[in-house]
Symmetry: C2
């Protein structure tokens, strides 16, 4: 919670414009976060993960500060370019791309692509020929699987291949004439363990060596994202991550440390945004006063809080009554969908005096909220964002 | 799959307009479904659950055929009215409503409201006074909890109270001057057990008796939705549900059978819609040929297939190669989000010849897809719908 957000919400309320949930994002926090990343990892290029929050104001600020951009689609590439980034500062980091989208990206000037299998490298080589771009000017990095232990937001095996296969994929890309550039991985979103990069960097170093034996000189390691924002639990600062990553790089690459990239998303914008929502109903399921209270907000899983899925992300929720006695609650959203429940397995303590009509503030909501919101589920509009 | 949808997709492809996933909905199927409900439960009013698919064409067709509408928000009420329904044919069926939304609904002429606690009844009584509507003209029904055994889409305890409490809630509404009208419940979405209504109807009859003893004459039972559409598993026909419900009504209410309402959503539009999507990538995670294939589509959890959450709804997926040998696959969506995986715990058999660029048809996709889609996650646009 920043003073700027507090002041903004006060004015908005005084003006009577506080209808429906809103996410307010403070650009000053984003600025501080970018600076912290740049300081903690001074030799690493920062590629902001646009998917975390593609607000034009965020992209423009970061473009101005010198950030690069990790994008998931042609639409995101276009947003980054529109915000002032040059094409050489944009990566097409999705390992799942339609060939015609690769052509579009190449025509927009993008030269850096993620792959995790030979078929994807083939697409890029064909697309380069179609777009009239020299394959040798197109850099590809291969994503490897990573176990994600220590992360709060579940990782799956969706992206990446085993490290041994990455060597073949990169060689295949090389044979296709592409520039086999390096390796990427992701240690899992909201990663609380600063040492999580160590194992993946060991694999990356192995891939560098094996590719070297095949005459392919890799030069880049994409360290991915995973940098946390603070929800309920305290998390280490960015500098701890920087230190641990630098130690692991030195350990596995000796004095031949490669170029590096990081892709913070949540860590760049998570703590910059706060949702103001309203209590729509407080009730119990039986007349028994010991029964847990149900608190229904005007925002839920389909309105922007999708990351409460399986109760993975546990947001800090503030009310005007936080000095009062607390009691455990179930928290649910406003839709007629029974899965639209935020916290039920692990009850959430809220003040006993919390009432219908009260405002609540959901902190750390700057990432993965606005664009996750359903387009019109149950007739509710998607989450609005106001950037200040 | 209907001939009309097949012809439409063929023409669209010939015209080169098949970019991105699309849901095609055949109104003829909706017409048949409405007729089947009306025949199977001839003395029951049909309130279509607008949230399942609020396409204006669907609402207009159903309004014309005589359907009533169950709505979750003021926006949905406005859609139903715009489609030609009169206000007396619209229910505000969400138990979680802002008081100012109740005022809006009353001003639009709505007189039928769901509640599941005293606080919600209080809101409605206050709103009626604010809107200048006689409280006695406002009908409320109390939703009770129901265990949902036999349903594929998880029910939670989010809506409803225990039956004993419902008696108090209805008495409270009555004391507030509202018309305590009846009881509602929901047996769980995609309910395969035609007998699932029996237990809830026993509770409803008990509530009718208890309210009667307190001088309150209830007259309506809202039987909710839950009527399935066919996905992979065969499901009973609507007439079986009609028979079982009529038997249970007779069993519990004798010859004093109340007015009844049903709220089909999925059962009305599910089998009317089909998504055409594209295979973006087929890959393996290691060079081992025994490794399961990953098939990535251009639609996933955030693009409209949210009901694959926990692999609850298992869609039938057709390809042009279904005569070929099948092998188990993981199916995932196109976003850079690792939870955007559709079927992984239970692999999905797809033809070994399925290739990048192939189209696939996802059947039974008319309900809970378009409006569930995220507004712009990863830069991907929400699912388009074409009604034919």
């Amino acid at each position: 919670m920043t003073d700027r957000i507090r002041d903004f919400l006060r004015v908005r309320r005084d003006l009577g414009q506080d209808e429906g949930p809103v996410m307010v994002l403070d650009l000053d926090v984003v600025r501080d976060n970018y600076t912290a990343f740049a300081r903690a990892l001074p030799d690493t290029r920062v590629f902001y993960a646009v998917k975390a929050n593609p607000a034009p104001e965020v992209l423009s600020l970061l473009a101005e500060m010198g950030s690069c951009f990790d994008t998931a689609s042609v639409a995101e590439i276009e947003m980054a370019l529109a915000a002032g980034a040059t094409a050489d500062r944009v990566s097409y980091g999705n390992t799942i791309k339609k060939e015609r989208d690769v052509v579009r990206a190449l025509k927009l000037g993008i030269r850096l692509f993620a792959v995790d299998c030979e078929a994807e490298a083939d697409k890029i080589a064909r697309a380069a020929r179609e777009a009239g771009v020299a394959t040798g000017a197109v850099q590809v990095f291969c994503r490897i699987l990573c176990d994600g232990a220590g992360a709060d937001w579940p990782l799956s095996r969706k992206f990446g291949c085993v490290p041994e296969m990455a060597v073949d994929v990169l060689e295949h890309a090389h044979v296709q004439g592409l520039h086999a550039y390096g390796v990427s991985f992701h240690v899992g979103s909201q990663q609380a363990n600063t040492e999580a990069w160590d194992g993946a960097l060991a694999s990356a170093a192995m891939i560098f060596r094996e590719c070297g034996l095949r005459g392919i000189g890799l030069s880049m390691v994409n360290l991915g994202g995973g940098f946390p924002t603070q929800y309920l639990k305290a998390v280490p600062g960015v500098e701890s991550y920087g230190d641990a990553i630098f130690r692991a790089l030195t350990k596995h690459f000796g004095n031949r440390i490669p170029e590096t990239i990081i892709e913070p998303g949540r860590g760049m914008v998570g703590n910059a945004g706060m949702i103001e929502a309203e209590v729509v109903l407080v009730s119990r399921k039986s007349a028994d006063a010991d029964e847990v209270r149900w608190v229904y907000l005007d925002i839920g899983k389909f309105g922007g809080l999708a990351e409460t899925m399986d109760e993975s992300i546990r947001y800090r929720i503030r009310t005007a009554h936080d000095e009062d006695r607390m009691s455990p609650c179930v928290i649910a959203g406003p839709t007629c969908d029974s899965v639209d429940v935020l916290y039920e397995k692990q009850h959430y303590p809220l003040p006993v005096s919390l009432s219908i009509g009260d405002k609540v503030l959901i902190e750390g909501a700057g990432a993965y909220t606005t664009t996750y919101a359903a387009v019109a589920f149950n007739g509710f509009p998607p989450l609005r964002q106001i950037v200040i």
